[in-house]
Symmetry: C2
Subunit: 226 residues, 2 copies
DNA sequence: CGGTCCTTTGATGGTATTCAATACACGTGG
DNA sequence: CCACGTGTATTGAATACCATCAAAGGACCG
């Protein structure tokens, strides 16, 4: 982390709307603000490594953070991708143990860090914080379960189709921009970049058009039937 | 659930040692005991279904509970397997929403149920309960991440080898019994039963011998090198 | 305008799923 | 105690799917 600083007005605003703090009472918010440190990360910077003693809780203010696990021989598998407002679930280590995965900024990112010991301390006195943590974790667990089932049940084109549908809630033709580069999306979906590319080109026959990060969905219903 | 009853002495004992209650103060334990209901499940009985409004928190006292997700066309993917002492993570729905997966007893099982509204109520007043929930959830999230990465990084024989090594912590030849049937294990590892069978027979060449539920590990080091 | 990184496309091999048929284990009842 | 039947496990063959390697094509930024 290059520069650490107290949150300014803009960062406080963003933090207030983040998943973790938005549900807290004013006093807990104040307590958390008190111990927040803001950091600016260049791409590829690591926030923490798998196996390190966990001392900080992390939350994304802007940008994206990729969390992955490593093979003995160096291969990586992404397990989650966090964006603005997200609490980094893998950094919630409440028992004072070690991080279970590695976190890396996927693009220039702004993140908030909280000393874990102090967070435990506050949460031990303030149920709203403990509940907010538990709540965030249930959401993350649900997402992890969904990924796991998705991996095991669906082929690459199906997973991509489902992702696209999740991005455009409207039930008619839409265009939108991918929020990050395709190699990141590939990792998130558990695919090699090549497989994502091939999935896109196969979906072209089902009303999907991709140019750069711009995606056009011609027929959501057709996608749903893949 | 066939019969619901207040916990007797034996069930209270088991509950006290379960992951959720073991870390609580006496008053929180009492409050939770107060609202606990014990149920005896026959195999294949469902505890809850994906999409149903969530009203109960579940914990396994004995037996095993399989949690899975369903495809539109009926195929199932197991996302977690819970045993004695485990809090069923997919039943921790703190926001009053819906269950995100289906839970089914895999064998005759004894489980404890807690009214979710009341749990939320207690946790809102008692930080130790909220923290115990958060703690249990971090563990589950870590396990889910591990499964996800395992699926994406390792082949079937490797996953099986890792599972076996995790069952026999000692670093020398050992024998032990699988705690459940192989089809369950296959689901847990994200494999079709046939693939598990083939993995076992390939591991035979690396010092693993399987007869029924009895497993003999001849050379843990060899397994680690798979 | 040039270089670097990302993405696409092609060819190949390994790996798991699926379907089908057989073998085995276990619990039940004769 | 043995015979039987149901559900579970194994084995085989064919197929589908994805990772990997290699190379060429684009996008983006200095």
């Amino acid at each position: 982390m290059n520069r650490l600083m107290k949150p300014g007005a803009r960062e406080r605003e963003t933090l207030l709307n983040s998943g973790l703090l938005s549900a807290l009472g004013v006093e807990s918010v104040a307590a958390m603000m008190e111990i927040a440190a803001i950091g600016n990360l260049p791409p590829r910077q690591l926030l923490f490594r798998e196996g390190e003693p966990a001392d900080m809780l992390h939350s994304v203010l802007s940008g994206y953070v990729r969390v992955y696990k490593l093979d003995p021989d160096g291969r990586e598998a992404d397990v989650e991708l966090y964006g603005p407002g997200d609490l980094i679930g893998a950094s919630v280590v409440l028992d004072g143990g070690r991080y279970g995965a590695t976190a890396q900024a996927a693009e220039p990112s702004l993140i908030a860090r909280f000393d874990l010991k102090r967070v435990r301390d506050i949460a031990g006195r303030r149920p709203d914080l403990a509940m907010a943590l538990a709540n965030a974790l249930t959401g993350q667990l649900a997402r992890a379960f969904a990924s796991l089932a998705d991996d095991r049940l669906h082929t690459a084109p199906q997973r991509v189709a489902r992702y696209l549908l999740a991005q455009c809630p409207v039930d008619k033709a839409t265009s939108f921009r991918l929020p990050y580069q395709k190699s990141l999306l590939a990792g998130k979906l558990g695919l090699a970049p090549e497989a994502l590319s091939r999935a896109f080109s196969m979906l072209r026959g089902h009303g999907v058009n991709v140019r750069g990060r711009l995606v056009h969905i011609g027929d959501p219903d057709a996608l749903r039937r893949i």
